[in-house]
């Protein structure tokens, strides 16, 4: 490792790290928010489930670099516009999460659902205050996968020139120099670990009854 090189480029690397966090974090959050109503609909109406899962699976099949390149043509944005990356990764997150949310909601134990019905909860309130909280651990597990793969996919956008940590890889290639590449891999992995830890601890905080249950048992 050439530490001098890292020190000289510290400010640039910091701004790339920040951009990387935003480009991978924003789609993860937006994708989650979008996938909850879609997943709830697919879980509630049986006819909506197969087409939702099929479309989501098809979207997830398209390689990220292809989506990064095709989106400007569809959205009318510039090829270097970071919005392409955000839209592409949001689509991937929704594609992954919509099925997870639908399956997690379908897996809510029927007696829990029936208890809520018996207490006079209407469908929307039941969904928000009972079913979604019960589904949090499964949704969280899906989100961890989405978040970590988003971090890795953002780097690919360096190929079309959107500035973030992937830039360190293209630079390393051009300079024939390992330091930026190793730094980029380490920083990407670090962002992924931090995202993962945030999701894990949020799930833990949002489901206090699980800890109680374990303590009692």
């Amino acid at each position: 490792m050439n530490w001098d090189w890292l020190a000289r480029n510290a400010s640039e690397i910091t701004s790339w790290t920040l951009a990387h966090v935003l480009l991978s974090g924003v789609p993860t959050v937006v994708g989650l928010i979008l996938s909850i109503p879609l997943g709830a609909l697919a879980s509630r109406y049986r006819w909506a489930y197969p087409p939702t899962v099929t479309i989501a699976g098809l979207l997830y099949t398209i390689p990220s670099i292809a989506l990064f390149v095709l989106l400007p043509g569809i959205l009318g944005t510039g090829i270097l516009d970071p919005i392409n990356v955000i839209v592409a990764l949001t689509l991937y997150t929704v594609a992954l999460m919509v099925r997870t949310v639908a399956d997690a909601l379908t897996a809510v134990p029927p007696d829990v659902r029936q208890a809520a019905v018996a207490m006079g909860y209407r469908p929307l309130r039941r969904l928000i205050t009972v079913e979604l909280p019960v589904a949090i651990p499964v949704i969280g597990a899906g989100l961890r996968v989405a978040a970590v793969s988003n971090v890795s996919l953002v780097a690919v956008a360096a190929l079309i020139g959107v500035p973030q940590l992937g830039q360190l890889f293209t630079q390393g290639q051009q300079l024939d120099f390992y330091t930026p590449i190793v730094a980029g891999i380490v920083l990407c992995a670090a962002i992924a670990v931090v995202f993962d830890a945030i999701i894990l601890s949020t799930v833990k905080l949002a489901t206090p009854w699980r800890r109680l249950g374990r303590a009692a048992a």
């Binding site: 099949t61 390689p63 670099i65 793969s149 890889f169 293209t170 891999i185 992924a192």
Partner: protein, 258 residues
């Protein structure tokens, strides 16, 4: 814009020659198949053994997750640089790129193989052992056949990963359809880039569909929803009342269990 992409795709000169679409598609398929085959040779036996013995599950899950967090572009560039310094120039980039493709195709296959084998109904395993099968026979004749649907889902993920990474590998001078994306960008030729991207997407979707269909028919009819076939070949369907009832009348099954 879409007209330009269409025009690029339908220009017959773009389909022939060393930089033609046929040749590039062939290269792309070739890299993908080699990588997936190498990954399968490594992942299948290890995954099957872990699923069969139940040992090392945590290690596999942890490694697979860690590999997912590694940026594929970073791995590619790093291994390409290393290969240029250590391998004969003619084969260095190709070897390094395919090694990365294979490396990234291993985790999905490994995890789904072990999950598929580990998820086999213990009753089926016990029955096989009761019939006097050895551990290896149980694995080969009972557990792996039952795990086929999951094996194929791992194979499909591995294929998609390899197609996507092969595209990126054009950046380190690999051939394949990614060339159009990388070269089109350098030449400020958006229709070429987008045409290449579209071809990559089509290759991904078509290959995935083919694998899905093959997997559907490779799996034993009793495992898939090929109901009519199952009814014909499995006369003892009535011996699974819980399975068929839970699909039609779940309340009845619940009541029966209580």
């Amino acid at each position: 814009m879409i007209g330009d992409i269409w025009a690029w795709l339908t220009t017959s000169a773009h389909w022939t020659g060393a930089d033609g679409i046929w040749q590039r598609t062939l290269e792309h398929v070739e890299y993908t198949l080699i990588a997936v085959a190498v990954a399968a040779v490594i992942a299948l036996p290890i995954g099957a053994l872990i699923g069969h013995t139940g040992r090392g599950t945590g290690l596999v899950a942890g490694t697979a997750n860690a590999l997912r967090a590694l940026p594929s572009l970073g791995l590619l560039v790093m291994l390409a640089l290393w290969a240029l310094g250590h391998l004969p120039v003619g084969i260095a980039l190709q070897t390094a790129s395919i090694a990365v493709l294979a490396l990234l195709a291993i985790p999905p296959m490994l995890t789904s193989t072990y999950a598929g084998v580990a998820a086999v109904d213990p009753a089926a395993r016990d029955a096989a052992e009761g019939m006097g099968m050895s551990g290896g026979q149980v694995l080969l004749r009972v557990e792996l056949p039952i795990a086929v649907p999951l094996l194929f889902s791992g194979l499909r993920s591995a294929y998609l990963q390899a197609v996507a990474t092969a595209t990126i590998a054009a950046f380190v001078s690999l051939g394949g359809l990614g060339r159009y994306v990388i070269d089109g960008l350098a030449q400020h030729d958006y229709p070429k880039m987008a045409g290449g991207a579209l071809l990559v997407a089509v290759l991904a979707v078509v290959g995935d569909r083919i694998l899905a269909v093959v997997g559907h028919f490779a799996a034993s009819a009793g495992l898939t929803s090929r109901r009519r076939l199952w009814a014909k070949t499995a006369p003892y369907r009535s011996s699974y009342p819980a399975a068929s009832l839970s699909e039609t009348q779940p309340e009845v099954v619940n009541a029966a269990r209580q």
